[in-house]
Amino acid sequence: MTRPLPSRLVSALTVFSLVFPVVYTVAYYNEWALFWFYPLVGELYTNLQPPSRGPAMIYYGWIVLAFVSAALAGAIVPRRWAAHLWVGWSWIVPLAATLFTLAYETRWFQG
């Protein structure tokens, strides 16, 4: 019989997986950029660069923002509060984020 996980870890992981999809979805929808990465020149900037630098990527910025936010939330939220969370949110929130993504990206298919 494997030992049960420490409740601190259980609550942190639960909160992380709830916060991550929300922050990521809001970030990419609003195009919040922590930083831009220019793959052609392989450089990071905190502000937009001239077109000569090639295509700009915000993707990594969204991931870092979501990761940091979710990790902070996981660390901050009290165990008692997290323990009262309904387990169903663990799949409903990411599912909602997925449906929103699919709906949002239909913008590409409208000619």
């Binding site: 997986s17 999809p21 979805t25 990419y28 052609l40 997925t98």
Partner: protein
């Protein structure tokens, strides 16, 4: 050349990932009726312990995600402009869903792992099933879109 090699590894790793998560998803899928014991799909459902797939799925998903994120720069420089220049907006939009869904899956991994490691939590069996099915959908969705896009235009040429 490196991008091409990494892309092939990305593809092969996703084959093992899709195998593991599909096995697990089939096992958690609610069985409607009794099936004959020796049928291929029945054996597919009756594997000893679905939880042994959890660690493998988490490791493979994360590794495949970061490999994909690394390759994404080549896509952004070589493929996306080609798609936009040739008006293949459907493909560009499809790949964008792949990008986002891959990240949503990454965020799901902690909860997914938790549910398989802590099966005793109240009400977690249903939640675990849905999370596993959602993750399986993410993997299949990204696998198919990745192949369709790669067929349109490759990397590292």
């Amino acid at each position: 050349m490196i991008s091409a090699a990494l892309l092939i590894i990305h593809g092969l790793a996703s084959i093992v990932l899709i195998g593991a998560i599909t096995h697990q998803a089939i096992m958690v899928w609610p069985a409607k009726h009794a099936e004959q014991p020796q049928a291929f799909f029945t054996r597919l459902r009756s594997l000893p312990q679905p939880s042994i797939y959890a660690n493998t799925v988490v490791i493979l998903y994360a590794a495949n995600f970061f490999l994909g994120a690394f390759l994404y720069t080549s896509y952004r420089v070589d493929v996306r402009p080609y798609l936009e220049d040739t008006g293949l907006f459907l493909a560009a939009g499809a790949f964008e869903t792949k990008e986002h869904i891959a990240v949503l899956g990454l965020g799901l991994l902690p909860a997914y792992w938790l549910f398989w490691k802590e099966p005793s939590r109240a009400g977690s069996v249903t939640a675990r099933s849905y999370i596993t099915l959602l993750l399986a959908f993410f993997v299949w969705w990204n696998f198919i879109i990745g192949h369709v896009l790669n067929n349109i235009r490759g990397l590292g040429l």
